[in-house]
Subunit: 342 residues, 2 copies
DNA sequence: TTGTACGCGTTATCAA
DNA sequence: TTGATAACGCGTACAA
């Protein structure tokens, strides 16, 4: 591989001059520029960005730490991050942690050692000792995850209000026995949605019952099992709010297996609005989360920090909206068997 | 940030000695090692991997170039790549190209400039001038994409045989008017599946008709429109093979809108076996592709190259299997309205 | 426009 | 055997 020296020699100038030309700095005459570019072309020269990074203390690389890219919640966030990062000239290192705090810690250490310019964290579980990273000169941005005590930048939604909105919708449809399949307690977002659920019930004067709350782990199987448990329990709910869509899909499948009709026998509302929810054979009512925008916004916050444009921490709350489809029964005006397809 | 010099000073040794200790090289006494580790701990020292990479000419970073991580086909590949890469001590830079050859080229150039140790390419479209990268000391591995003339490593499936298997299944079920919603012509995998389709028809003595072949772009909307077009055309098929699952889902939704019953009126088979396909309200018959394994295997091939263990190019063909569910009608023994849900 | 020091570890050479 | 010194990887920035 050709180096800057080779280019300089061929163009009859110094390496420094080549560097200036390459970086668009002034004080390089048009003529020498041309000679330099010719040399670059001839030698197929490509600057070694590692060397440049070492000198500049900027790698133009950021880390994206998430639980699992195969979870349908994450790809759009990743896409938002990657696209916006590309606009700003950054590359993205993808890290799956499976919500394992140890793996997450290891990844953060490696990324810092690799001198990433910023870090976006959107794993689910809470890791408590992130505070020590405040002193690093590497900005952290949290997506939909409770930032630790020290103030880090944050992008997310109002989980409490969004969950409340979903449950209120079910209440408005006449439901009083509304169950919740919530995420694990350690997750801040899950806890907030639980709060929203309770708040909605309280304001409607509906008593809260622990029997109607099941803990899932934000996965399909959890939703399936939680629903089985609810159907065996007492009282049997007439509606269910799930803390995310894939649990809702699991719950629906449990209903299918037990011949419980959705939404006739049971209304279901999810959370996230993953792509599947809109399929005509699914039509899951859910709370839409602007995941792409969350990823993109996180990068913007990060870049503001990197270029030193902003010192104060910033919290961005993006709007959600309730997407009413079939499974909540709001638009349910059909008779049995009218559905053309399964 | 503390540097190796600081550690050396605190431990009362030379930087070289610290380096030797850190890298587990011999000739550092146990005592000095202890002193060094203590100093590292005290200073919270973290080696600068950029500096190390510059010297070692190894970044322990690889690039993963794909079309779009939000396409359900890719996350499992990415997961396989990331997990296996982590095992071997590599990080993964994620690159979405939207199947744009120019974007792909830009990304490859940037990644090479960043001195990645390897590159995994799994965009859909074919870029012809990849040959020039043979001379780089950066191994390329192709996933499910025709490698260019020069031999690069490859991981994929037998697209022809797999598609043939799917169509043969429909033939066995008694179908003769079998349509194909294929991917774009520029895609090698799509073309291979088209060949498999033709081959199955030919062997069964069924005449091929251009009217029964629609070109989609591997996206939901394409599948939807292709199906609309088929339903308006002549002859109307009794079965459809789609080159991927999301087009199949689009096709199914077009059927729902037009009150065409699947599989009663029309059998549908997809390709990929994305997660959605197994939902009880979807139950798409499809060809399973081991995507996680494809990603993991690609990393293995890459690492063999990086450590120089192998010189000859290798092609790995992983097995596929037909997953028979509801939409092909094979197990269809129910009467209308019997489905418990939707 | 150029020479040169620098960024920070690593490795080859050399000394003890 | 153990450790230090210095050159090196490759671009960039500053003084000249």
């Amino acid at each position: 591989m050709a180096k800057i020296k080779d280019v300089a020699k061929l163009a009859g100038v110094s390496p420094a001059c080549v560097s200036l030309a390459l970086n668009g700095k002034p004080y390089v005459s048009a003529k020498t520029k041309k000679r330099i570019y010719n040399a670059i072309e001839q030698l197929n020269y490509r600057p070694n960005i590692i060397a440049r990074s070492l000198r500049n203390k900027k790698t133009h690389t950021i880390g994206l730490v998430l639980s699992d890219i195969t979870n349908p919640f994450f790809p759009e966030i990743a896409r938002g991050v990657e696209t916006k990062a590309r606009e700003y000239g950054f590359n993205v290192i993808l890290c799956n942690t499976d919500a394992d705090p140890l793996l997450e810690k290891n990844y953060i250490e490696v990324l810092l050692a690799k001198q990433v310019d910023g870090l976006i964290l959107t794993s689910v579980r809470i890791m408590d000792d992130l505070d020590k990273y405040t002193k690093e000169n590497c900005p952290l941005v949290f997506i939909n995850r409770k930032p630790p005590l020290s103030d880090f930048d944050f992008v997310g939604i109002d989980n409490v209000a969004s969950a409340k909105m979903a449950v209120e919708h079910l209440i408005k449809l006449g439901h009083r026995k509304i169950a919740l399949i919530r995420g694990e307690p350690a997750s801040w977002a899950s806890f907030s949605r639980y709060e929203g659920y309770r708040m909605a019930l309280k304001e409607a004067g509906i008593p809260y019952s622990d029997n109607l709350v099941k803990i899932g782990y934000l996965r399909y199987e959890s939703g399936y099992r939680a629903m089985e448990s609810l159907l065996k329990g007492s009282p049997i709910p007439t509606a269910i709010f799930c803390a995310n869509d894939i649990m809702a899909l699991g719950a629906i499948d449990a209903c299918v297996d037990r011949k419980v009709k959705v939404p006739q026998d049971l209304a279901i509302v999810g959370f996230d609005d993953i792509w599947v929810a809109s399929l005509k054979n699914v039509q899951l009512t859910t709370v839409h989360q602007p995941r792409y925008e969350m990823g993109a916004k996180a990068v913007e916050l990060m870049v503001e920090r990197i270029i030193g444009k902003r010192k104060k921490t910033k919290r961005v709350i993006l709007p959600t909206k309730l997407v009413i489809r079939r499974t909540c029964g709001a638009n349910f005006k059909i008779s049995r068997g009218k559905w053309p397809n399964l």
